[in-house]
Subunit: 134 residues, 2 copies
DNA sequence: CTAGTTGCAAAGAGTTTGCATGGCG
DNA sequence: CGCCATGCAAACTCTTTGCAACTAG
């Protein structure tokens, strides 16, 4: 898919790497890269390419209306599940072992349903936000 | 919010009730109601109203790109978690007790993260589809 | 009656695409 | 050099909105 490493692609990858596993909107990404003179189309095209390569996942968070892109970066993140706080927007990780337990529990309780960790995001309110607000 | 019960609203509610807890796209809904002469705007406006009332949740499934609407119908569904098969599209339920166990497990393992059951959808491949394909 | 709703069509927001130019390897 | 990738702007798709006509209560 990706044959050349252009300045634009480099910048995008760097940004995604720095924000691995976070749910970012295209606008957010474009804005962050605006200093580096990257056209919107280049952003979208590269995001699409990455998605086809399976390094990136698209979805839409509960509240927002635009698509969000989540780059699966670190190796240590393979096998874990992602939690997204609907209040502060931060992303948390469920370690592989804990995630495994959860995936197995679901399979057992729902007739062999095989949870897709890459595709699933758990929404809720993180401990910090819960502490602050009540 | 909703003060009058119009023919259009009635038809929409009937349809949603019949497909409670499924992830439907606006197009799908509009199409299903097309026989009953309902304008697209009416569909969207009513869906938005329902969302504000909290009876409906918006999100975007992993694959697709349009928003999907999920009507929380039955009382027996309160407290359960929803599983969506990315292969056949069907929606499954994790019974309240099993869901509780899962929610507690997450809270324990992720520093008090309070999973929002209404907002979260677990994606994966259901037992039936797994059986068929390998 | 009269305020909430509808339908239509036009406006918006976000994403995709065609085509000529530019730049990586 | 050749081919892939970029930029720009126009095209598209999905959703929202303004406004006059309509209708449930």
């Amino acid at each position: 898919m990706s044959k050349y490493m252009t300045r634009q692609r480099r910048a995008l990858l760097d940004y995604l790497e720095a924000h691995a596993d976070e749910s970012l909107s295209a606008a957010q990404i474009a804005q962050a890269l605006s200093a580096q003179e990257i056209s919107v189309s280049a952003v979208y095209r590269n995001l699409s390419a990455l998605e086809e390569e399976g390094r990136l996942h698209r979805s839409a968070s509960g509240a927002g209306k635009e698509l969000r892109y989540r780059y699966s970066g670190a190796e240590l993140c393979r096998g874990c599940l992602h939690l997204s706080c609907t209040r502060c927007g931060r992303t948390f990780h469920l370690r592989r072992t804990d995630a495994n337990r959860l995936v197995n529990a679901v399979a057992e309780e729902a007739g062999g349903f095989a949870l897709d960790r890459a595709e699933t995001v758990l929404y809720g309110v993180c401990g910090d936000c819960r502490g602050e607000r009540r």
